[in-house]
Amino acid sequence: MRKSILIARSNIRKAKGQTAAIIVLILLASLLFNLWLMLSMDYHANFDRYHDKLNAEHVTLVVEQRDGGTKEFLTRTLDGDRRVSQYRLDDCMYMVGSFAYNGGMMNGEFVFTDKVTALTRTVGKAEIVEGSKIASGVYLPMLYKTGDYTVGRSIEISVGSTPVKYTICGFFNSAMMGSHNCSLTQIILTQDKYAELEASGLAPKTTLCSVRLKDVSQNMSYETLLKASVSERFPNNRMTSNCYDTVSQSRYISQMICSSIMAAMAFFVLLIALVVLVSNIINYIQTNMKNLGALKAVGYTSAQLIASLLLQFLTITAIAAAAGAGLSYGVFPAVNAMMISQTGIPYAMRFLPLPVLISMIILGGTVALAVWLAARRIKKIEPILALRSGVQTHNFKRNHVPLEKTKLPLNFALALKTTLSGVKHNITVCITMLVLSLVVVFSGLMTENVIKDMTPFLNLIVGETADSAINVQTEIENDFIEKLNADSRVEKVYLYNSLNVSHVGGVELMATMSDDFSRVNNRAVVFKGRFPKYDNEIAIAAKYAKEKHFKIGNEIEISANGKTEKYIISGLTQITNNLGKDCLLTRQGYERLGTLQNATYYINLSDDADVDAFNNEIKEFFAGSINATINVLATVEGAGSVYIDLMTIIVIAILALSVIIICFVLYLLVRTMLNNKLRDYGIMKSLGFTTKQLILQTALSFMPAMIVSTVVGLLVGCLVINPLMSLFLSSIGIVKCTFKAPVVFSVLAGVGLILFAFGFACLLSYKIKKIAPRALLTNE
């Protein structure tokens, strides 16, 4: 063992540059592995810790108190249910509303609670994160603490369609109602403001019911059950709900995206590091054949020599992995800052030994395997090689690019000769560039479909978008449509209303209905089959259909308002609004279950129309009969800017990472080539080749593999990126991605990467200048 340590130490000392480059690659892999494991193992678990800390509910239900007796009914129901461990009922007010946020609008379903109640609830209490001495005003969820909203400033909240101005007293956190991603957004008012709102009648009196279950896994089915029983008893009372699974998933979509990207990048970087490492070992064995033969001649065994390589690279891996783990704690606050704008839940960073241990095991295990596989050829070296000065019998099978026949210019021909005789280098370059091309395509996809123009992303994630959405009372529907059809700014108006229904034997589904689905803007929502056309048809989320083994043509039982009806599945949808638990019904189809009391209409306006002015006009015209108006694009911009920021950071980070990887891989390859071809460069210089010619030849020799693998990588990347993204987004309900392939971006980025790689290879090859032909002749 001591002998192996000595050899390993000597090897590391002799190849400091290569060692440093391999350390950097493994360090990057370790950094990404740790970030991924921290995000996936602890970051999401932080929600549970927070949930427990606030003794938060597993099912939240808000029910209008229009028909009296809801509280009593809920008390009776919950008291008699053995699945319930704890519950809490409080008065609140519930109304759709909006406020300006992130350069757009935040539209949500607001649950207004008074401060004392909110902070003292035994189940589902809120926690003030930042307070003040301001006695009258509003407390907002921590998520909305942005540049515009700080303590002491004012905020205008539209309650329904009436704006109300409040002073911000502070910020709070709530596990189940702390963000628009929770379906329900809690707004805490001081006692006086709560009383004012109550007196104004803008938001109806509602019961806030928070239920903790003995078995958390039943949360989704219990939500459906509870809602069904309440709607059966109180069909006229509006209600809405959320449950633990939905909230915990939807608050952590960005964490899921980021964590998946980190995992993919970690494995990509590890793969590249392993390829480089194997190439390095094979090269080491070839160039040190004489020394290895000599060591064998004096009695070293193959096992000892392999052990020395294992020791050398495992030492490097241990150092790099530890440094990468340490660095991950330096980088994590930035990742957390990126995530918190979506989760809204503070995360206290702490040392996590398990991610460090797992990444160490992954890195150490794969490196050990790679070293062993590459170093096995040491067994074949015979001591006699030392006596032959390390000369091996070369087996030149082909004279690549014979100069006698080629039409290429000399430098290109010699570069191509080097390329074709360097299989190991080509494999390393190819694997690196194939992986990085995929990364480039992904970056391009995100740039063109999210960062530059969010429409494709919205079409996939949000589903339907229009310029304006107006929620009206059904009594004025005909007048409303007549008025809008007469307005020259209106291009299209159609019913697009969402309500919850229950799948009998399944879960709560968000049902979106329209009087005519042929009028919707986003026809891609139904990606298989067709939109429902008749009142006995339904289109359901593909993710849910897969879970329940439903196919087009199957029958499904849906209940709402105490009634149950059967529908035939006409198509499969993919919308992430409700994380893949949604369906589409025609209006007539829904009305088999009950009548609509309010209806949301989507409106397309002409390009020059002012959406806010239009909404205000309609609101004034139908005063009292309009429940809410939404500037849809502004809302989308508000919510979408979080994803745009996230994607921008991710794209920049992974492109920068790609450049760093190319730099280190090229450094290793060029350095190895310079060492291996030192004699050849000396001979060529003595024959009259200039430094510039040799630099050009060296840099060019990497280009064929680089160009071919980049082109193949980009082509394959463009072809597989949508299926890969579908896999990637399957957990939020996407089954078939239809993003535009980022051809222009990929081509430009690919060309950029190749040119950068060529320039960098030239720079690295500049060392050739120092090679003096005299050194060759005097054996210096």
Binding site: V391, T393, H394, F396, N399, P402, L403, E404, L410, L414, K417, T418, S421, R679, D680, G682, I683, M684, K685, S686, L687, G688, F689, T690, T691, K692, K769, A772, P773, R774, L776, L777, T778
Partner: protein, 253 residues
């Protein structure tokens, strides 16, 4: 008859620093090399023979002094300028041969030839003629350096050195790594090319090799101690050998 000067040195000096100690290998060497000569540089080990050869051929830069090739002062050239000088005017035959293992015999020659010659067809013809002249078969031309004998490799080295019709062919102990038979073949080839007008500068410590030269320079401790003209004696003439032996004896050989 006035002989044409090919290379001329003035006060050529070369100093190496060895562990902080200055070692003066060449000391103010003034020398003229002439067109068509077979100049042999002799001397004991460490006399500075190879250093002089590398300096003359632009492989190395002297510490002091100047080397002129016609109007061109090659000591003023950059490294790349020296490379161009070597490719345009010099050919090299090394003791260790130094063929590039990854290239076939033909490619070793053409890679040097294509640096200078634009007419590839003519270049290939010339290469084939030279291969024939040194008795390298077409089969051998397709082989790689590790697949041919030492003698063959040295003859390939000579073809490579001559492919660009250099003004001077520099040879550093060209028979040093060969057995006596193949060494003799190489010397015969060099003599043959010299007789066809090729200027040759050869470093050797072998008296049989030195006999091929018409001008012998004897170097000792970095200075040219003396020179001997063998030009008036025919090859094979015993007087040539006696003259050389006497000269070397005078020089303390």
């Amino acid at each position: 008859m006035q002989r044409q000067i090919l290379l001329k040195t003035e006060n050529l000096s070369k100093t190496f620093s060895n562990g902080g100690r200055q070692q003066h290998v060449l000391k103010n060497v003034d020398l003229e090399l002439y067109q068509g000569d077979f100049t042999v540089i002799m001397g004991a080990s460490g006399a500075g023979k190879s250093t002089l050869l590398y300096a003359l051929s632009g492989m190395d830069t002297p510490s002091l002094g100047k080397i002129a090739f016609g109007d061109k002062i090659i000591t003023d050239l950059s490294q790349d300028g020296l490379a161009v000088f070597r490719r345009d005017h010099c050919g090299f035959v090394f003791q260790q041969i130094y063929l590039i293992d990854g290239m076939s015999v033909m490619d070793n020659v053409l890679s040097a030839g294509m640096l200078v010659n634009k007419d590839k067809k003519a270049l290939i013809e010339k290469a084939k003629a030279l291969f024939t002249a040194v008795d390298i078969s077409e089969d051998t031309q397709k082989k790689f350096p590790t697949q041919i004998s030492g003698g063959e490799a040295q003859r390939v080295g000579m073809v490579r050195a001559l492919i660009n019709e250099p003004d001077i062919l520099f040879a550093d102990e060209p028979t040093g790594a060969l057995n006596s038979k193949t060494g003799l073949d190489v010397l015969d080839t060099l003599t043959k090319f010299n007789e066809q007008g090729q200027s040759v500068v050869m470093v050797t410590h072998d008296i049989r090799s030195a006999r091929r030269g018409n001008r012998i320079l004897y170097l000792k401790d970095g200075v040219i101690l003396g020179e001997c003209d063998l030009g008036k004696y025919a090859h094979g003439d015993t007087a040539r050998h006696e003259k050389l032996t006497a000269f070397l004896s005078d020089m303390g050989w």
